[in-house]
């Protein structure tokens, strides 16, 4: 990461106005969005949208041709532009041919993408943005910081000052009054303008229609008052049929601003009459700018399903901390990272792709069903393929790739780390983990890793067998978690085996784009874990579970190592996370709880991978309550804790405030225990509370259950 980028990150994190505004907004958004979607089957709706958009994306040429025929038959001019330059040339020609001096615009990300305003102004025209937010940032000379709310980073004081300069008057910060100033100022601009430029939320191939969605009514004026209307539309906005508008119009306002519908939605099909009775000139520019190429890319074609609602930004824990300007480009947040990589250049996403902590919040709410975190990983992977790994990372991964060396170094760390350990926590870690201790304590590396302890554990000989996949953290930092797991499974009549050849799950390498390394890790683990015939492969770390269940297959597929896929699938079928397995055993009557226990209150922290990838969140809550603990839910229980593997090393300035927020939410419940199912979260939250000094126990669910369950 470049220094300037790091600086812009810390500046943003320390911008109190920004983080407070975004924080408040994202909290309210969650509640309002849920209300807006009441009574709607969101999964069915987004599948519907994804299917229709995916169809459009794979038939762009066809749809564009049909659109052109339809719209031109009605009198519109349709121009297919493959590059930003061609778009600009075309618009300039229309403007020159018609002696255009002033232009009014309705919000259009496509025009931001090609920096159209600058271009038109350089060519002697006056250009006014008329969406209030866009006008504000135009006056401020800034870029939009959010797709839907371009000026969300500004205060009313700043707006009052900007407007005051524009109208040469001192203005108060009364918001309705400021809006009135804009109404008055822009009204004359609408009436004077020679040309109106809009974007398009949808383009319907079947009918040649453009759909425009706004709240302010400016798009209606821009398409009504000037005699020329240019609609600049990215070709990802295509849908095939008129009826395809319905599901998108159902989701777009709900996801964007938690409204059932925006104030205005216009469906324009061919030119209409001008105010003087003449016919309007309607030009529709269909802009490609690498979209077709994107639609042919196996990994990224799904990005064409995006309906630009911005909800991925609203729920992103990183975006709400740093805001849009850190992303440095037109499109911001997770989706912005992807669009920047395509519409500009892969290299331009190098710094910003690192902002994603892979929490999966965006994926859960996206009405276009985009897997944003997965695409960001793919960007990482391609960057590594292009440029290679940094030297430090190379060093780390060459170690991780060699199980014996890796494990012996972790063992060594337990010895070298010893003088620095206090009360079970370590302040300074040796070796490449050294930066981990910024802002929070870390667990000591265990004196004896789980793999050694295991050999001494006495288990009854049982018929049913499960292989335990420990993962590095349980193996080397929290071996007692592994011991508890064995005790519990033994009670249910399951004998646990521990294949000694298991190694790192490959997640660190994968999340850094080092797929070769992750692939080798996958193969080593598949071999080790399938050596003996077991019924289950159980893990108590969600990141590892996700690796075993999903990522081994994906990684091997992307590396073309298809000969390993059947084995990877076999492993995936057997893999289960701890809470799901125990819940199953309880349901089957193989485990039960001691009755009448009153064990105190707990709150539960949902780990990102467990909740959103594995969809497990009821099981641990139910188990703990059955055991006799009382649940007090915390605010934003499923928000990331800021750990994110090496993320907390690379971007401590972001990780730390996310953790602080989590700690505050935990403390606010008043519970004496915080439970979770991920040793990584235990490390992050445990370390945070250790430095904070709050007397709250941080426990993995299995530690809380071990003494409470009984066998048959």
């Amino acid at each position: 990461m470049k220094k300037e980028f790091k600086d812009s990150v810390s500046k943003a994190v320390h911008n109190a106005t920004l983080t407070t505004a975004l924080g408040k907004f994202s909290e309210a958004y969650k509640v309002n969005r849920a209300k807006a979607y009441e009574g709607i089957d969101f999964e069915a709706l987004r599948q519907n949208i994804a299917d229709r958009k995916a169809f459009a994306a794979s038939h762009i040429d066809l749809l564009a041709a049909s659109f052109k025929i339809k719209a031109e038959a009605l009198g519109a001019k349709v121009f297919l532009a493959d590059s930003p330059d061609k778009v600009k040339e075309y618009i300039l020609k229309v403007a020159r041919d018609n002696n255009v001096k002033s232009v009014v615009k309705s919000k259009s990300m496509a025009s931001e993408e090609i920096h159209l305003n600058d271009f038109l102004i350089k060519n002697g025209m006056s250009v006014k943005e008329t969406d209030l937010g866009e006008w504000i940032i135009q006056l401020a000379g800034q870029k939009p910081s959010h797709m839907v709310m371009p000026a969300i980073h500004m205060t009313k004081e700043e707006v009052a000052e900007l407007f005051g300069k524009e109208v040469h008057e001192r203005l108060t910060t009364d918001i309705p009054r400021l809006v009135e100033v804009a109404r008055k100022e822009l009204r004359s601009k609408f009436l004077e303008a020679d040309m109106g430029i809009t974007g398009g939320n949808l383009a319907v191939a079947e009918t040649g229609s453009i759909v425009l969605v706004t709240n302010e009514g400016n798009a209606r004026m821009v398409t009504t008052l000037p005699k020329i209307h240019i609609a600049l539309v990215g070709i990802e906005k295509f849908v095939e049929k008129f009826e395809d508008i319905v599901p998108i119009l159902t989701a777009l306002p709900r996801s964007a601003t938690a409204q059932l519908l925006t104030s205005y939605c216009s469906i324009i099909t061919g030119p209409v009459e001008n105010t003087d009775g003449s016919m309007k000139q309607l030009h529709i520019i269909l802009m490609d700018n690498r979209r077709t190429e994107m639609s042919h890319d196996v990994k990224f074609k799904q990005a064409m399903q995006c309906i630009r609602c911005g909800s991925c930004l609203n729920v992103c824990p990183i975006f709400r901390l740093v805001g849009g300007h850190v992303f440095g480009s037109v499109y911001t947040g997770g989706i912005g990272t992807i669009l920047t990589a395509w519409f500009e250049a892969l290299q331009n996403s190098e710094d910003i792709q690192g902002l994603c902590i892979q929490c999966g919040n965006c994926k859960e709410v996206c009405p276009g069903k985009l897997d944003i975190p997965d695409m960001i990983l793919e960007i990482r992977r391609r960057l590594v393929v292009d440029k290679g790994q940094s030297l430090t990372q190379k060093a780390i991964f060459s170690v991780v790739n060699n199980r014996k060396l890796f494990h012996s170094m972790l063992r060594a760390a337990s010895i070298t780390g010893k003088p620095f350990t206090s009360g079970g926590f370590i302040r300074h870690l040796p070796f490449f983990l050294s930066e981990l201790t910024e802002g929070r304590s870390l667990p000591a590396i265990a004196a004896e890793p789980f793999r050694d302890r295991f050999k001494k554990i006495k288990q009854p000989k049982l018929k049913e067998k499960a292989a335990f996949y420990a993962g590095c953290l349980i193996d080397f930092a929290y071996p007692e978690m592994g011991e508890s797991l064995i005790k519990i499974l033994n009670k249910a009549g399951i004998e646990v085996i521990f294949p000694q050849d298991q190694t790192c799950c490959g997640a660190p390498a994968r999340y850094n784009g080092a797929y070769e390394v992750a692939g080798n890790n996958a193969v080593d683990n598949i071999t080790a874990l399938l050596k003996e015939d077991v019924k289950y492969v159980v893990s108590a770390c969600p990141t590892c579970t996700v690796a075993l269940e999903h990522e081994f297959i994906a990684t091997l597929e992307s590396l073309g190592r298809t000969d390993w896929i059947p084995q990877a699938k076999k492993l995936a079928e057997k893999t289960v996370d701890f809470s799901t397995l125990v819940k199953k055993l309880v349901d089957e009557g193989r485990l039960s709880f001691r009755q009448g226990q009153k064990l105190g209150s707990f709150t539960y922290h949902d780990s990102c991978h467990l909740r959103r990838t594995l969809k497990v969140f009821e099981q641990p809550r139910e188990l703990l309550q059955k055991a006799g603990y009382q649940l007090t839910e915390m605010f934003e229980c499923d928000m990331c804790c800021g750990m994110g593997g090496s993320y907390s090393i690379k971007l401590p300035e972001i990780s730390a405030p996310i953790l602080q927020r989590k700690l505050a939410n935990i403390k606010n419940t008043g519970a004496s225990i915080v439970a979770m199912d991920c040793p990584g979260c235990v490390m992050q939250i445990g370390g945070g509370l250790h430095q904070d000094g709050a007397p709250i126990k941080v426990k993995h669910t299995l530690e809380l259950l071990v003494d409470q369950v009984e066998g048959k």
Binding site: A21, F25, A151, I152, G217, N218, L249, L261, G277
Partner: protein, 183 residues
């Protein structure tokens, strides 16, 4: 259906009224214009866009009762008007929206530029949702279809919801039960 629509439309800031006959609706509009101070003064007049509702209405006597009411809609007049009156095609219960064909320029002028927009619609034109309305509207004969949901609004300054940034500040919906029969 009507009650459901009213609830939804009011939730987004529209004002909803219902009358049995066309005559009742006309009386309401006349008194509404009076109450809003519509007069022949600059920036104080009202524009009524041509539509089926006006068929058979005696405009001269209407204008006598409501001074400042004009049936001639031009760009210049619309830019300075206080009230714009038009008719809507459908009302949707799920979102409280009006759906209307605004291909004719007068329709757009009276619903975008005035401070207050009054929309008249038959109570029998209420539909229960987008699929129903999409089965009825057809872009091959309506070039400009507008969905209107409440008044113009913005939340672009500090996320504070504020009414009337560019379009009308008020949307007044007038339902008429017996639209075809009366007069």
């Amino acid at each position: 259906m009507y009650e459901l629509f009213k609830t939804k439309a009011e939730a987004v800031g529209a004002e909803v009224h219902r009358f049995k006959t066309k005559a009742d609706a006309l009386d309401f509009i006349v008194s509404f214009l009076k109450d809003e101070g519509v007069s022949d003064a600059p920036k104080g007049y009202a524009l009524w866009a041509e539509g089926p509702f006006l068929d058979g209405v005696d405009r001269t006597s209407l204008q006598a009762k409501a001074p400042g009411l004009k049936f001639q809609v031009t760009r210049e007049l619309a830019a300075d008007s206080l009230v714009g009156i038009s008719e809507a095609g459908y009302a949707l219960t799920d979102t409280g929206s009006l759906v209307t064909d605004q291909t004719a320029i007068v329709q757009r002028l009276v619903s975008t530029l005035p401070v207050i927009h009054v929309a008249i619609i038959g109570t029998d034109r209420i539909l229960d949702g987008k699929p129903a309305v999409f089965a009825k509207i057809n872009p091959s004969n309506s070039r400009y279809i507008a969905f209107i949901t409440g008044p113009s609004r913005t939340a672009d300054i500090e996320r504070v919801l504020t009414i009337g940034v560019h379009g009308p500040k008020r949307l007044v919906i007038v339902f008429v039960d017996d639209l075809e029969g009366a007069n």
